[in-house]
Structures are given as C-alpha cells and as structure tokens.
C-alpha cells in the first residue's frame, strides 16, 4: 500500500513537472507550425484524391517522421534526464522505492502526456482538414499510436543510458531516423519511422495514397510492422528498467 502511494505520488509529481517544463514549450512550436500549415492549406469539404495525398504525405513525412519523435524525445528524455540534469534524481534514489518502479512512474507520467499531445493534435489537424481529414483520421491513428509508444520507450532508454540524452536523442531523431529510414536495404529497419510508414502507406493506399517505390522503400506487412513497433517499445522499456536498476549515477551530487 505504501509502495503504491509512493508510486502514484511520483507519477503525479513527474507529470506536473513535465507539464510545466521547457519541454512543453519545445513541442508547442512544431505542433503550432503544423497547425498553421493545415489552416493555410484550406482543405475543401469534398473529397479530392490530390488533397488526400497531400494531407497524407504531410502527416506521414512531416508529422509522424519529425513532430512525433520531437514530442516523444522532449518529454521522454526529460522525465529522467531532467531530474538528472537538475541533480534532483538523488532525492528519488534514496527513497524506499525500487528503481524499476521509479522508472515506471516516470514512464506512466510521460506516456499519456505525449499520447495526448500527438493524438490530440492529429485529431485537430484531421478536423481542420475537412473531408480528407475525416477519411485520414482512422487510417493513420493506429500507426501514430504505436510509433508514439515506441519512441517514448526508446527515449526513456536514452535518458537512463546517456548523460546528455536530449542532445543524443535529437541527433538520433533528426539524422539517424531520417537518413537510415530513407536508405534502401535492410539498414532502414533500425529506424522506428520505417515501421510506422509501412503501416501508414498500407492504410492510405486504398483511399488513394501512392506509396513510394517499393523497390526502394520495401514496406513490411502491417502486422509485422505493428509487432515490430510493439517489440521496440517493450524491448526499450525493459532495457531501460534494467539499466536504471543497476546503474550508478555518480554525477548526481
């Protein structure tokens, strides 16, 4: 009972600190940029394949490939990394809470926040995009959900492993994901957004979305890509818990 109280306190405390952190400002900028883009496009009330394709490509290539990882890394790395950089993590580590639970509390605080921001923004963009948005909303929703989960878990792993996790996660999100995700061959499977794009292109194709050249993109089947994202999420989280449970944080005091 006391452990549950400690865990729930830490979750609420972490959520409150994340909400009022610099990370919130950091993610509002790209989300607002996307909102402005959608508003300026003036999507019509009637379905047009051209507009659907444009909106889908915006969601897949800009929102899912750039904004979603930015949101996930802003909060994912800040949840533990913020305490580490502020040197307040020591106050948590000397409490009678297992380290695994500390990390899970941080994760529990971060995930709904990032999910809410990503999926809420996506819902808003779809609402503003008229008929093409209404069609796109259920199509890309599952992929965005799994991608967000995978990124949040992955960036928690960054946070517990690296001292300057935010910088490294930014480098990873902006360069590794974009570069590796675009190269032909098996290497692209190291990028989270490759699996997300596989699901999204497959979902959008029946509604008129043209997938990239399959010889270059080599998409995975939807089920395989979904399980890959779930696997990345679980694997990263378990690894993060193991690292956090065993690691000495010498730089805390």
């Amino acid at each position: 009972m006391s452990l549950l109280r400690a865990w729930s306190t830490l979750t609420v405390l972490s959520l409150r600190r994340l909400l009022f952190s610099a990370s919130s400002m950091m993610v509002l900028l790209p989300l607002a940029g996307c909102l402005l883009y959608v508003l300026r496009r003036h999507y019509g009330d009637d379905y047009s394949q051209r507009e659907f394709r444009q909106f889908s490509e915006f969601i897949i290539l800009v929102f899912a490939s750039f904004v979603v990882p930015i949101c996930a890394l802003a909060f994912g790395t800040a949840s533990v990394g913020g305490d580490r950089e502020d040197r307040t993590l020591v106050f948590l580590l000397v409490r009678p809470i297992p380290r695994a639970l500390i990390l899970l509390a941080k994760f529990t605080a971060t995930l709904p926040l990032v999910m809410g921001l990503v999926l809420g923004s996506y819902w808003l963009y779809c609402r503003l995009a008229g008929e093409v948005g209404a069609i796109a909303l259920p199509l890309y929703f599952p992929a965005l959900l799994w991608m967000t989960l995978a990124y949040v878990c992955l960036f928690h792993l960054f946070a517990v492993t690296f001292r300057h996790s935010t910088v490294l996660a930014l480098v990873y999100a902006l360069f590794i994901e974009v570069l590796i995700g675009a190269v032909p061959g098996i290497v692209k499977r190291a990028a989270v957004n490759y699996y997300g794009r596989s699901i999204m292109y497959a979902a959008g194709e029946p509604a008129g979305l043209e997938p990239p050249d399959p010889r270059l993109f080599e998409p995975l089947p939807v089920d395989t890509a979904t399980w890959a994202l779930i696997g990345i999420a679980i694997g990263s989280l378990v690894l993060a818990i193991l690292v956090f449970s065993r690691r000495e944080y010498r730089d805390l005091t």
Binding site: A6, V90, F91, V94, R95, P96, R250, L252
Partner: protein
C-alpha cells in the same frame, strides 16, 4: 479520548519504522574503483548510534563513502550494510535519511510542498505526510517560512529543507553531507542542538564537513579519511593519543616567565622553547609527562602559572599531522 496531534509533537510512526535490530552502518573491506582510479581502499568500520564526523580533504574519499552508505554507489569489493541490509537495496533505504551536499531542489515548489512530497514518496498517507512535514519543518526551524518557494530561499534555508526531507520519515540513520554549509552561527547552534537531540534518541548520524571545528563541536567520534583510507578513528582525544611521538605545542602564561623557560628547557622531552612577553611556547614530544613536570615546578619552585593551553590539538592539527604520516 483520542489525542489530537500538533506540529510540535513527534508523530507516531508505523511499526515498520521502529527498528529494533542493530542500528549499525558497517563497511566490511570496502573498495571502490572509478575505472582505474581508486575511490576508497579496503575500508572497514562500524558506525553506531551517536554523531560521527567524517573528515577528509577534497578527493580523500569522503563523498564516495557517503554515496556508498546511501546506496548510490555499489562497492567494487566488500559490503556496505545498513542494519544488516545491503545499502544498495530498497529495504535499507527505509532506514536512511540523506542530505546531499548539492543544493538542488524542485525549485518551483515551496519548502512545505517539497518535504511533503518526499514524505509521500516514503509511502506515508496524506494525513501522515502532513503531520510529519509540519513536525520536521518546526524541528529544523522552517515552520514560519514553509510557504516560501525554494527558488527564493537562501542557502541556509535550503540546508534546513534538505535536513527536513532527510528526517521526514524518521530514519535511524542520517547521512549528512556538509549540513552546516551556508548556515549562520545562530542557525548552526540550532542545527547542532537538533542533531544532539537526535543522537540522544539513539539515531546514528554520519556528518561530513570540511569545517573541522564544526565536527569537533558536534561529533562524538571521528573518522579521518585520506587517499581512500581511514587514517584514524575514535574520539578526538583518542586520535590525539595516537600521536604519542608528535611534538605538542603548549602555551604557558606564567610569572616569572624567563625562570620557567630555563627550567623547562632542561627537561629532556622538550624540543624547543620560545619566550614571549608574558608567555612561553613550548614544543614537547611527551605531553602527559611534560604537564606533570610543570605541575611539579609550580609546587616546588613557586612559579605562578596563570594559563596553560595546547595550541595544536584541534582537529585541523590532528588531521594535518595524520595526513603527513601517510605515504
């Protein structure tokens, strides 16, 4: 009739907080490497109830010892135990209160909110946490400034808040890293009195400080660390006693001072005598026998000794001497 509790009363704690077993912090052959660099080297000691001072120069291994004891670091070799439990384990942390040397907090919170949050992280219910927070804030002298945001608190106030969060779950082991830093003399007296009270309650308190006079005033026993090793332990008097062959500098205010100078200069264990206006500065290698000799002179030669004091038996001198003797 149920008795209501006011902030000044010590709240009752759940049964699991009442520790009946050995209240010992023990290091058993503890060595800690940071890569190729050794932090502490084969340290063994048992720290029991009362206040123990941890003295050492920068890089001596003081912080490593505190971090090992608070379960932030794991020893490369040996064991660190808190009441028989591995210090790294979660169960040991129920009995541990730790005040770090850095002054970092959740700056957006008030002192009350921070200590309350720490109480909740120790598993207390809301009512218990409120009661405990009220109690410890009063204990550390922050009850009247509880609503002040931490970002606007002075260094001294932040030290008190750190102490409050370490005490909030009433642990039997307190690890305090430089707890007096930034606190004014009046505040130090208050904190000293609080620590004495806690020691009287049977708590085990390990205080690290670079201000040696503070430790001298506060600690019942001392652990001196140099280059990762314990170079001396015990009370300051015991540690001083280890230095049997080190000359002690004694100031004697006497009349006639020149006659006394001539007499003590003949004494075989006196290495040097310096005559000042109305006093002598004597260096002796056998203090106990020298003091007895001066006593005899007072009786047999009618010399009026007004004051006699050692000039270098404080912790600084002891520490400097012991460090010099280390390879």
């Amino acid at each position: 009739m149920q008795r209501s509790s006011t902030p000044s009363e010590r709240p009752e704690l759940p049964a699991h907080h009442q520790v009946g077993e050995r209240m010992l912090l023990s290091f058993e052959g503890v060595t800690k490497f940071y890569g190729p660099v050794i932090g502490v080297n084969n340290i063994s000691c048992r720290i029991g109830p009362g206040i123990t001072g941890l003295l050492g120069a920068n890089g001596a291994g003081k912080s490593t010892i505190i971090k090992l004891a608070s379960g932030q670091l794991r020893p490369t070799q040996g064991k660190v135990r808190i009441g028989g439990r591995n210090a790294w384990s979660t169960s040991a942390k129920s009995h541990l209160g730790y005040s770090p040397d850095v002054s970092s907090f959740y700056e957006e919170m008030t002192g009350y909110e921070f200590v309350y949050a720490m109480a909740r992280l120790n598993g207390f219910s809301r009512a218990e946490a409120r009661q405990r927070t009220d109690y410890v804030l009063e204990e550390v002298g922050m009850a009247d400034r509880r609503g002040r945001r931490l970002a606007g608190c002075s260094h001294g106030m932040r030290q008190r808040i750190k102490l409050a969060q370490a005490l909030v779950h009433d642990p039997w082991l307190l690890l305090l890293d430089e707890p007096m830093s930034g606190i004014d003399p009046g505040g130090r007296r208050e904190i000293n009195e609080l620590l004495f009270r806690l020691a009287d309650q049977g708590k085990t308190i390990l205080v690290s400080s670079h201000i040696l006079v503070e430790i001298e005033q506060l600690a019942r026993s001392i652990l001196m660390i140099a280059r990762g090793r314990i170079i001396a332990s015990g009370t300051l008097a015991e540690v001083r006693g280890l230095m049997k062959y080190r000359p002690l500098v004694v100031e004697i205010v006497a009349d006639p001072v020149r006659k006394l100078a001539a007499l003590v200069a003949e004494y075989p264990d006196v290495q040097g005598v310096e005559v000042r206006e109305s006093s002598l500065i004597v260096r002796t290698r056998n203090p106990a026998e020298f003091f007895a000799y001066v006593g005899q002179l007072v009786c047999s030669r009618g010399i009026d000794v007004q004051r006699m004091q050692t000039l270098d038996s404080g912790a600084d001198a002891v520490f400097d001497y012991l460090q010099q003797g280390r390879p």
